[in-house]
C-alpha cells in the first residue's frame, strides 16, 4: 500500500482511539531554581517599574537585581555542592534542561558576570548631574528622538531608564538556560530570550544615541537572520531524527536508535538533513560567539552599545554561546566528529587570524576590544575542537578567566571621558599613564592578560586550551594560535605605548572618579586576572570536575 496511505491510516488510527489523558509535565523546580529565581526577579523588576515611584526605582531595581543574582548564584552553588555537577547530574524538565557540571559551572560564571555587570550598569557618578539628579549611562527615555523635545523634557525631569535592570535579568535568565538546553527547541527559545533584551539594551546609550540605535538595528537584523538559520537547522535535524532532544538525535546519529518505520526511511537517518541541519545550527551559535565569517556585527555593536552593556555582552554572551556550542558538539554530534571537526578547524584558524590582523589598525578602544574578542573566540574554538574532557575543562576555564578581564577592561573604558562622554578614540588615550598611572596600570594589566603574558589569567587560559588542542591532535591549530597571538600582542602593546610613552595631549580626556560600584567591578577584574594567572589550580580543578556532560 502506498506510502501516503500508511501515514493516513496511522493518523486515523490515532484519532480513533479514546482521547488519552495527557499527563501534566513534571518539573524539578529545585534543580531549575537558578533560572527561575532570575526570571522571577526580572518579573518583579517589571512590576517595580510599573508601581514604584521614580525616586526609589533605581535603588530598588539595583537591590532586586543584586539580590536575585546572588540568590541564583547561591542556588547554583547549592546544586553543585549537592553533587549535581558530578554523579547526580541529570536531565530536568522533561528532558528540556540538563543539570550537570558544565551547565552549573557556566551558569555560575554567567551569574557572577551578571552581578559585576549590574554594578557597572548602576554607575551614576560618571555622567554629569542632570538638574541635580545623578544619572547613569543610559538614555533618559529610550523612545525619545535624539535631541528632540521629548528627550529634553525627559532629561529635565531627570528620568533614567531603570528598565535596564529587568532587561538584563531577562537576558541572564535566557543565558542560564542556553548552555543547559538539552533539546533544540529550548536552545532556540533561550537564544531568543537572551537576545531580545540585548537588542533593546544596545539602543539605550545616553550619549551618541544615533550610533547606539544603529548598533541595535544591526544587531537585531543580523541576530534575527542568524536565528532563522538556527531554526531551519533545528527543523532539518528534527526531520532527520524525528526528535529534537539531544540524546534522541545522538542516538540516531550513533545508529543506536530503535527501528524506524521503513516508510520514513526517506527522511530519518538521511545524512544530508543531518549535515545541513547541523551546519545551520552551528551557524546560529557561531554568530553569537562572534566567529569569522559571522563576526561582522561584533565591532559595530560593541562600539555603538552603551559600554556597560558591551562589557556584559562581550563577557556573558560568549560564555553562554560557547556553553551551548560545547553541549551541541559533545552531546549531539560526537558521532559525526569527523564531519564537523575539519570545518571547525577552518573556522577557528580564520577567526584567530582575522581577529588579530584586523585589530592591528583599529583606532577606537571599543572596536579594538571587539576584534580582540573575535581573536579570543578563535582561541577558545581551538579548545572546543580538542573534543577531549581536557578540552571542555580548558574552555570552561578560559571562559571564566576571559569574561572577567573583558568586564574589567570595558569598565575602565567607561572611566576615560571628555566633554563628549567616553573618549574611546585611541589618540585621546595618549599619555594616560602620566595623568593617572593607576588606571593606566590596571588597563595595562588587562591588556597583558588579553595578550596572554605569563602570570595573568590570559596566559593560563591560553595555555590550557592550546595544551588541550595539542593533546587532541590539533597541533597546527596551536601553531596558528601562537602566530596570531604574536600579531595580537602587537596592538595590545601599541595601546600600552600610547598610554605610557607618548606625551599627554593638552585637552586630553580626564579620568573621572567612579563610585564604589565600578571600582569593585574593576578591582574584581584585576584580582581574578592575577589570581587565575598565579594560582589557577583551584579553578582548573573546578573546571576539570565540571568537565563531563550528562545525556
Amino acid at each position: 500500500m502506498s506510502h501516503a496511505a500508511t501515514v493516513h491510516s496511522l493518523w486515523t488510527a490515532a484519532a480513533a482511539e479514546p482521547p488519552v489523558r495527557i499527563p501534566g509535565p513534571h518539573i524539578e523546580y529545585a534543580q531549575l531554581s537558578p533560572t527561575l529565581i532570575v526570571l522571577g526577579a526580572a518579573l518583579l523588576g517589571v512590576l517595580a517599574e510599573a508601581f514604584l515611584p521614580r525616586r526609589v526605582r533605581h535603588h530598588a531595581q539595583l537591590l532586586l537585581t543584586v539580590v536575585g543574582l546572588a540568590a541564583a548564584f547561591a542556588a547554583v552553588i547549592a546544586l553543585a555542592a549537592g553533587g549535581y555537577a558530578g554523579d547526580k547530574a541529570r536531565i530536568a524538565a522533561m528532558g528540556a534542561v540538563a543539570v550537570d557540571g558544565p551547565a552549573l559551572f557556566l551558569q555560575g560564571t554567567i551569574l557572577l558576570v551578571g552581578l559585576v555587570a549590574a554594578f557597572t550598569f548602576a554607575e551614576r557618578r560618571l555622567e554629569p548631574m542632570a538638574h541635580g539628579r545623578p544619572v547613569d549611562s543610559f538614555a533618559a527615555q529610550g523612545a525619545a528622538v535624539p535631541g528632540g523635545e521629548a528627550e529634553r523634557k525627559a532629561v529635565a525631569a531627570g528620568m533614567t531608564t531603570t528598565e535596564v535592570f529587568p532587561l538584563v535579568l531577562f537576558a541572564i535568565g535566557g543565558m542560564l538556560v542556553f548552555p543547559a538546553a538539552n533539546d533544540l527547541l529550548t536552545l532556540f527559545v533561550a537564544l531568543e530570550v537572551f537576545s531580545l533584551p540585548l537588542y533593546v539594551l544596545c539602543a539605550l546609550a545616553r550619549r551618541q544615541r544615533l550610533l547606539s540605535q544603529e548598533s541595535a538595528v544591526k544587531y537585531f537584523l543580523l541576530g534575527a537572520f542568524s536565528s532563522a538559520f538556527l531554526l531551519f537547522g533545528v527543523a532539518l535535524l528534527y526531520g532527520y531524527a524525528g526528535t529534537v532532544t539531544y540524546s534522541g538525535i545522538a542516538d540516531v546519529v550513533g545508529g543506536t536508535t530503535r527501528t524506524l518505520d521503513p516508510a520514513l526511511a526517506s527522511t530519518t537517518g538521511n545524512d544530508a538533513l543531518l549535515l545541513i541541519g547541523g551546519a545551520m545550527v552551528l551557524v546560529g551559535l557561531l554568530f553569537k560567539v562572534g566567529a569569522v565569517p559571522f563576526h561582522m556585527w561584533t565591532p559595530d555593536v560593541y562600539q555603538g552599545a552603551p559600554t556597560p552593556v558591551t562589557g556584559f555582552m562581550a563577557a556573558a554572551t560568549k560564555v553562554a554561546a560557547f556553553g551551548a556550542l560545547l553541549r551541541l558538539l559533545y552531546v549531539v554530534l560526537p558521532g559525526m566528529r569527523w564531519d564537523w571537526r575539519p570545518v571547525m578547524w577552518g573556522v577557528a584558524i580564520v577567526t584567530m587570524l582575522v581577529g588579530a590582523v584586523v585589530a592591528v589598525t583599529q583606532t577606537d578602544v571599543k572596536r579594538l576590544l571587539a576584534y580582540s574578542s573575535i581573536a579570543h573566540a578563535g582561541f577558545i574554538l581551538a579548545g572546543v575542537i580538542a573534543t577531549t574532557p581536557d578540552g571542555v575543562s580548558s574552555v570552561l576555564f578560559y571562559l571564566g578567566a576571559y569574561s572577567f578581564v573583558t568586564l574589567g577592561a570595558f569598565a575602565v573604558v567607561t572611566l576615560v571621558r571628555d566633554a563628549g562622554g567616553e573618549a574611546t578614540h585611541l589618540s585621546k588615550w595618549a599619555g594616560l599613564g602620566r595623568r593617572s598611572p593607576l588606571l593606566a596600570a590596571v588597563f595595562a594589566v588587562f591588556l597583558l592578560a588579553f595578550a596572554g603574558i605569563p602570570l595573568t589569567s590570559g596566559f593560563a587560559g591560553k595555555f590550557a586550551v592550546f595544551k588541550a588542542a595539542a593533546q587532541g591532535g590539533a597541533a597546527p591549530l596551536v601553531i596558528v594560535g601562537v602566530l596570531s597571538s604574536a600579531i595580537a600582542a602587537f596592538f595590545y602593546i601599541r595601546v600600552i605605548v600610547l598610554m605610557f610613552f607618548s606625551e599627554p595631549k593638552a585637552e586630553g580626556p580626564t579620568v573621572s572618579v567612579p563610585s564604589p560600584l565600578t571600582s569593585t567591578a574593576i578591582a574584581l577584574g584585576v584580582v581574578v586576572t592575577l589570581v587565575l594567572g598565579v594560582a589557577p589550580q583551584y579553578f582548573l580543578d573546578l573546571a576539570g570536575q565540571a568537565g563531563t556532560f550528562v545525556r
Partner: protein, 535 residues
C-alpha cells in the same frame, strides 16, 4: 625544611620593587637608597648561595626547593642551582647595585609638575623587578616555571627601555621619544614572538610527556631521568621540532644572527644602566637556557643542529664585529660588540667540549662585567656631552684622564686582552671549539683582530687627538661614578689573573651537562702523561 634561600633571593628584590614603587613622589632620594639597599641585600643572599653551594656535591642541583603549583599543567615550583646558574645569579646580584648606582640620576623628572607620575620610583622598582625575575629564571628547574619568568621579564624591561632614555641632545625631544618607543616595541615583539614559538614547543613537550609518561611533566630532572631509563623517547622529528622551538626563543634573546637587530636599537636608546641590564643580565638568560634546557632536554637534536648553530654563531662573531667597526654611535657600537661576544658564547656552548662550555659560562660572567664597565663609562661620557655620536668627541683623555683610562681598560677587556678576565673565557671557547672544529675555531680567532679594531678605533676617535670644542672643560669622573667603575675594573683584573674560584664551581656542572649530551672531549694525538701536563 631549611630556609628557602633560592626563593628568598628572588623574593627580596621583588618585594623591594613593590616597596620602592610605593615610595611617595616627593621622597625620590629615599626610593633610590631603598633600591640600593635592596640590591645589596640580594647580593648578600647570592653570596650566601655561593657559600652554601658545594661544587663537588652529587646530583645535578642543590639548595633545591619543590612545591606543587599547577597540577593540571604538570607544573611544579621547582628551584635548584647548579654551578652554572649559581655563578650567573651571583653575577646578576653583583651587577644590579652598580646599575642602580650608575642610574642614580637617570630617572630624575625634568620638572616636578605632576605629583602622581613617579618616574624615579618606577625606574628603580622596574630594575629590581627584572632582577627578581632573572634570578628565578636562573633558579627554575621546571621548564614551565622558567618559561613564565623568561617571558614575564620582558614587561619590566620593556618599560625600562621605552620609559627612560638619554637626554634628547641634538635630536629633538619628539624624535628621541619616537626612536625610543620604536626600540622598546621592537625589543618586546622580537622576544615575544620568540617566546610564543617557544610556548608552542613547551606545549608540545607537555603533550609528549603526557602521552608517554601518563602524566605530563615539565620537571627537567624528571624528564632527563625518564629519558635515561628509556621511559621517555622522543621521535626524531618531534625532538628536533621542540628543540628548534626552544632554541629560537633563546637565539632571539641571546641574540644570535640574524635575530639580533633589536639589540642595537634597544641598547642605543636605553640609558646606559638599562643597556647593561639588557646585555649583561637579561640576555644571559638566553645563553644560559641553551646550556640548561636545549642541551639537556634534547641532546640528540642539539647534536643534529650543531653545525648550523656553529655557523650562525661564527657569523655573529665576525658580522657583529664588522658592524661594530662601522658604527657612528657609541652605544650601538658596544651593542654590536656584544652581538659578536654572544656569538662566542653560543659557539662555546655548542662546541660540545668541556673547555667550550666552561669557557662559555665563564664568558657570560666576564662579558657581563666587561660590558658593564665599558657601557657605564660610556654612559658617563654621554651624560656629560649629551650626544651618542662618536664624531662629537675627541681628545677626552686630555681633559678627563681618569674617565679615558677607565674607558680604555673597559675597552681592553672587551678586546679580551690577556690579564683581564675576558681573555681566559674567550681563549677557552676558542680552544674548545678548535679541538673539535678546527676550521671554525680558526675563523673565529679572526674575531679577536676585529675586536681590537673596533675598540681601538672607538678609543682613538673619542679619547685621543686634539681636544674637541664641546669636550673642553668636561669634568672627570665623579666619586659616585668612580665607585661604580673601580670595583668592576678590579674584578676584571682579579678574574683575569685568578679565575679558578669560578671555574672551580662551573666545572662539575659543565661535566654533568656534557654527560647529558653524551659527549667527551677529543683526545690529543700525543699522549703526554698528566704528571708532565701538570708541570
Amino acid at each position: 625544611m631549611s630556609f628557602p634561600l633560592l626563593t628568598a633571593t628572588a623574593v627580596v628584590p621583588a618585594a623591594g620593587a613593590l616597596a620602592t614603587a610605593a615610595v611617595p613622589a616627593a621622597r625620590r632620594t629615599a626610593a633610590k637608597w631603598l633600591a640600593l639597599g635592596v640590591s645589596l641585600a640580594t647580593l648578600l643572599l647570592a653570596a650566601a648561595q655561593l657559600v652554601r653551594f658545594d661544587p663537588d656535591a652529587a646530583g645535578p642541583f642543590q639548595l633545591t626547593e619543590s612545591h606543587a603549583w599547577i597540577k593540571d599543567f604538570g607544573v611544579r615550583y621547582d628551584l635548584g642551582v647548579d654551578g652554572i646558574s649559581v655563578v650567573l645569579i651571583a653575577l646578576t646580584a653583583l651587577l644590579i647595585p652598580f646599575v642602580v648606582l650608575a642610574g642614580w640620576h637617570d630617572a630624575d623628572p625634568l620638572e616636578d609638575s605632576s605629583t602622581r607620575w613617579r618616574p624615579t620610583q618606577g625606574f628603580f622598582a622596574l630594575i629590581l623587578m627584572v632582577e627578581a625575575m632573572v634570578v628565578i629564571a636562573f633558579e627554575a628547574t621546571d621548564v614551565f616555571l622558567f618559561y613564565i619568568f623568561f617571558e614575564a621579564m620582558l614587561i619590566p624591561m620593556y618599560f625600562l627601555i621605552g620609559g627612560f632614555g638619554d637626554r634628547a641632545g641634538e635630536r629633538g625631544e619628539a624624535e628621541t621619544a619616537a626612536q625610543r618607543s620604536y626600540a622598546a616595541v621592537k625589543f618586546l615583539l622580537y622576544n615575544l614572538v620568540g617566546g610564543l614559538i617557544m610556548l608552542a614547543a613547551v606545549i608540545g613537550l607537555y603533550a609528549v610527556t603526557a602521552h608517554q609518561l601518563g602524566t605530563g611533566t615539565f620537571s627537567l630532572t624528571e624528564i632527563v631521568q625518564a629519558r635515561a631509563d628509556g621511559r621517555l623517547e622522543f621521535a626524531t622529528t618531534t625532538e628536533r621540532a621542540l628543540f628548534l622551538g626552544f632554541f629560537f626563543a633563546f637565539a632571539v634573546k641571546a641574540p644570535l644572527w640574524p635575530l639580533h637587530t633589536w639589540l642595537p636599537n634597544a641598547m642605543g636608546e636605553a640609558t646606559a644602566p638599562v643597556a647593561v641590564l639588557i646585555t649583561a643580565v637579561v640576555d644571559k638568560v638566553g645563553t644560559f637556557a641553551m646550556l640548561r634546557f636545549c642541551l639537556q632536554l634534547f641532546p640528540e637534536a642539539s647534536k643534529w643542529a650543531t653545525p648550523v648553530i656553529l655557523v650562525l654563531s661564527l657569523i655573529s662573531i665576525l658580522y657583529g664585529a664588522l658592524l661594530a667597526v662601522g658604527q657612528r654611535d657609541i652605544k650601538r657600537l658596544i651593542a654590536y660588540a656584544s652581538i659578536s661576544h654572544f656569538g662566542f658564547i653560543v659557539l662555546g656552548i655548542f662546541a660540545m667540549t668541556t673547555q667550550g662550555q666552561g669557557g662559555a659560562t665563564l664568558y657570560m660572567v666576564n662579558h657581563g662585567i666587561s660590558t658593564a664597565a665599558l657601557m657605564l663609562v660610556a654612559g658617563f661620557l654621554i651624560s656629560r656631552r649629551g650626544s651618542r655620536l662618536i664624531a662629537d668627541y675627541g681628545g677626552v683623555q686630555k681633559v678627563a684622564p681618569v674617565l679615558a683610562g677607565t674607558f680604555l681598560v673597559g675597552g681592553l677587556a672587551t678586546l679580551s686582552l690577556p690579564g683581564l678576565a675576558p681573555f681566559v673565557s674567550e681563549f677557552l671557547v676558542l680552544v674548545g671549539t678548535f679541538s673539535r672544529y678546527p676550521v671554525i675555531g680558526v675563523l673565529a680567532t679572526v674575531g679577536i683582530v676585529l675586536a681590537a679594531l673596533y675598540v681601538l678605533v672607538l678609543y682613538q676617535r673619542t679619547m685621543t687627538g686634539p681636544v674637541a670644542e664641546p669636550v673642553r672643560g668636561m669634568p672627570d669622573l665623579r666619586v659616585r661614578e668612580l665607585v661604580v667603575v673601580a670595583p668592576l675594573i678590579v674584578l676584571l683584573l682579579v678574574l683575569g689573573i685568578y679565575p679558578k674560584p669560578v671555574t672551580r664551581i662551573v666545572d662539575p656542572a659543565v661535566e654533568h651537562t656534557m654527560s647529558q649530551v653524551h659527549q667527551s672531549d677529543p683526545k690529543p694525538d700525543v699522549h703526554v702523561n698528566d704528571v708532565e701536563a701538570a708541570k
